[in-house]
């Protein structure tokens, strides 16, 4: 019986930590959407690039991977801005179908560019201050330093972005643009600049998320897809455009991914475990996709959203 509660506790903690990571990944997507109503299919690829950035620069510069995070941020911001001025700007003029395919093409392009330059094998950081280290807390609860750091970073990032949006003039301009583009323009706020800024923030935050992720999550050219889907589910659940929503939804999604081990623990409690028991592990992320589907049908504005 006690073992059961320990397992539940483990799942709660894991869910919370990973959930914060998912939230961070989704943050960029929701900011971009909030400002300009475009959904970036290549979001996961930005994450992947952040991951590769850290993977490559840490040994190159001989520093600890954590130190490369600002570089990731920079790379992400630059990538976001280039994507905006090079592609998205033109897509905004066209029909929705063009926007979809444009960022979609970007996804295919980036994914295979990575394949070309980085190869197809999954890679993970082997060296680092936090890598591979965990410590035990309480009744057999094992906390991994990397995930803990990622969660802390996520909270910090949310705070920073929140502060940026609500306490700076630039942030207020961004909010104004997302609420009423024409009105903002009349006030002298350059829509172009706001758009680019949104992409810079979006790109930077997700690239940083990648930089932390690669401490415990292997990167390969296809890693983006899963995270794009998770990010969409998170943003849908939280509400497109809502930063607060992304945070809460991310945590909820983190818990959802813990359904299989909780199920196993419950089965174990009821004595139904064992080699032939039904395992929900293959459906780990299926639940996430289902949540997306259900939310979009039942409550399209999500938890905190004010945009459709």
């Amino acid at each position: 019986m006690e073992a059961f509660w320990v397992e539940i506790l483990k799942s709660l903690v894991s869910g919370l930590l990973m959930g914060l990571v998912f939230a961070l990944v989704a943050l960029g997507l929701t900011v971009i959407f909030g400002v300009m109503d475009i959904v970036n299919f290549a979001h996961g690829e930005f994450l992947m690039i952040g991951m590769y950035t850290t993977l490559v620069t840490a040994p190159l510069l001989g520093v600890d991977p954590l130190i490369t995070l600002p570089i990731c941020g920079l790379v992400g911001a630059v990538l976001g801005v280039i994507s905006y001025y090079g592609l998205v700007k033109y897509l905004l003029r066209g029909p929705v179908i063009a926007q979809l395919f444009g960022t979609f093409g970007l996804m295919v392009f980036l994914r295979n560019l990575a394949l070309l330059f980085m190869g197809s094998e999954p890679r993970i950081l082997h060296k680092g201050v936090l890598v591979g280290k965990s410590f035990v807390v309480g009744p057999g609860l094992v906390l991994e330093s990397t995930k803990l750091a990622a969660a802390v970073l996520s909270l910090a990032s949310f705070y920073v972005v929140w502060w940026l949006i609500n306490r700076t003039r630039l942030g207020k301009a961004l909010t104004a643009t997302s609420l009423d583009r024409q009105g903002a323009r009349y006030m002298g706020i350059s829509t172009e600049l706001m758009n680019a800024l949104a992409w810079a923030i979006g790109g930077a935050s997700v690239a940083i998320a990648g930089g932390v992720l690669v401490n415990f999550w292997p990167v390969d050219p296809n890693v983006g897809l899963l995270f794009t889907m998770i990010a969409f589910a998170t943003v849908a659940l939280g509400g497109f455009g809502s930063i607060r929503g992304a945070l809460f939804a991310g945590i909820i999604i983190g818990f959802i991914v813990q359904i299989p081990p909780v199920w196993d623990a419950a089965l174990g409690l009821l004595g139904l475990g064992g080699g032939d028991a039904i395992s929900l592990h293959p459906f780990k992320y299926t639940f996430v996709y289902l949540i997306y589907f259900i939310i979009m049908i039942v409550r399209p504005q999500g938890l905190f959203g004010w945009k459709q």
């Binding site: 093409g105 295979n112 394949l115 897809l225 849908a236 293959p282 997306y292």
Partner: protein
């Protein structure tokens, strides 16, 4: 009756187009007689298959303007129906294929009904989500072999028209060519049909279409069903052509992406578009892929190029290659006064 007449009604195309199409069909008919490598033959079969996939996709993605990125699951349903029916109950292709189409269509109604409450990006993402869910289910479902997939037993004697088992590829080629021709005729009829016009109205402006009395929701579902039928049909063929199927190869997201990409590149919303798209991308992918395949260092280059092309098309001419053709023509026409 009217539908059949419509199927052969190509009159709204300029003579030039029809001549090129005619030459194209001629080429396709005599291709196996020309000297070719087995690789070229395999590429041609792929081209015909993807043209069909694309034409199917086009009904919902092109004519209706609802970008569907989850068509692969219906390929899977078609393929698996044929495979399971043959393995378990020895049912020939010609029975299992229509059954596969029926299952796929039924399933498309189940999914389509809630799916079409969504629009635009939300719809697109939902289609990806449903495809992934179905694939995940097939991967653990022992009845269909799970992740191991299914292997179609060899009947032993070749050629076998009942079960579609041949040693020589050109049998497969002509069968898929037959489907291809039927497909073109069907889409042509579709274009002229009431549903076709309704969809174009919906694509232009949904609200206006609704105010004209068109049942938007139901029209979309019908178009989705058509697309599904096409795709499932080719899926059944795929199972027989390859003798083995598994979720990863019949239902993958990559396949859905390829289908949508080809149709979009060639020109979503036009009759020739998907065919053009397939004609460009399939040989490119095949030849680049095999040329680069040995050189491990250049894997992915082919898709980098497609990605770039798609971005370009999306930014410059969302209506694809066919859109470019039409734009050029419109400009030329504009120099004469309207007739």
């Amino acid at each position: 009756m009217e539908a059949i007449r419509n199927a052969f009604d190509f009159s709204d195309f300029p003579r030039l187009d029809l001549t090129i199409a005619g030459l194209g069909i001629l080429f396709l008919l005599i291709f196996p007689a020309l000297p070719h490598s087995s690789f070229a033959m395999a590429t041609m079969i792929q081209f015909l298959m993807f043209s069909l996939y694309g034409m199917g996709w086009n009904t919902i993605g092109g004519y209706a303007g609802q970008v569907d990125l989850g068509k692969a699951k219906y390929v899977g349903i078609g393929a698996y129906t044929t495979a399971v029916l043959m393995i378990r109950w020895d049912i020939p292709f010609w029975f299992s294929m229509p059954l596969g189409m029926v299952f796929a269509i039924l399933w498309s109604f189940v999914i389509g009904y809630p799916l079409f409450r969504l629009k635009g990006h939300y719809f697109a993402i939902a289609t990806i989500a449903t495809s992934l869910v179905v694939k995940d289910i097939f991967e653990v479902w022992d009845f269909v072999g799970g992740a191991r997939g299914l292997e179609l037993p060899l009947k032993g004697h070749f050629p076998d028209f009942l079960y579609l088992q041949f040693r020589e590829d050109y049998y497969y080629y002509y069968i898929i060519l037959g489907f291809f021709v039927l497909g073109v005729l069907y889409i042509n009829a579709f274009r002229h049909s009431r549903l076709g016009y309704q969809l174009r109205a919906i694509k232009d402006n949904e609200d206006v279409a609704r105010s004209l009395g068109i049942d938007v929701h139901w029209s979309k579902i019908k178009a989705y069903a058509v697309a599904t039928a096409f795709v499932a049909m080719v899926g059944s063929f795929h199972a027989c052509y390859n003798f083995a199927i598994e979720p990863e190869d019949t239902m993958s997201l990559d396949l859905s992406i390829l289908i949508a990409m080809m149709a979009m590149l060639g020109g979503a919303g036009s009759l020739w578009g998907p065919i053009i798209g397939a004609a460009i991308l399939v040989p490119m992918k095949s030849y680049l892929g095999s040329w680069l395949g040995g050189q491990a260092g250049l894997a992915g280059l082919d898709l980098v190029i497609y990605g770039a092309i798609i971005m370009l098309i999306a930014a410059v001419q969302p209506r694809g290659v066919w859109g470019i053709v039409e734009a050029v023509r419109a400009r030329k026409r504009g120099s004469h006064a309207a007739a």
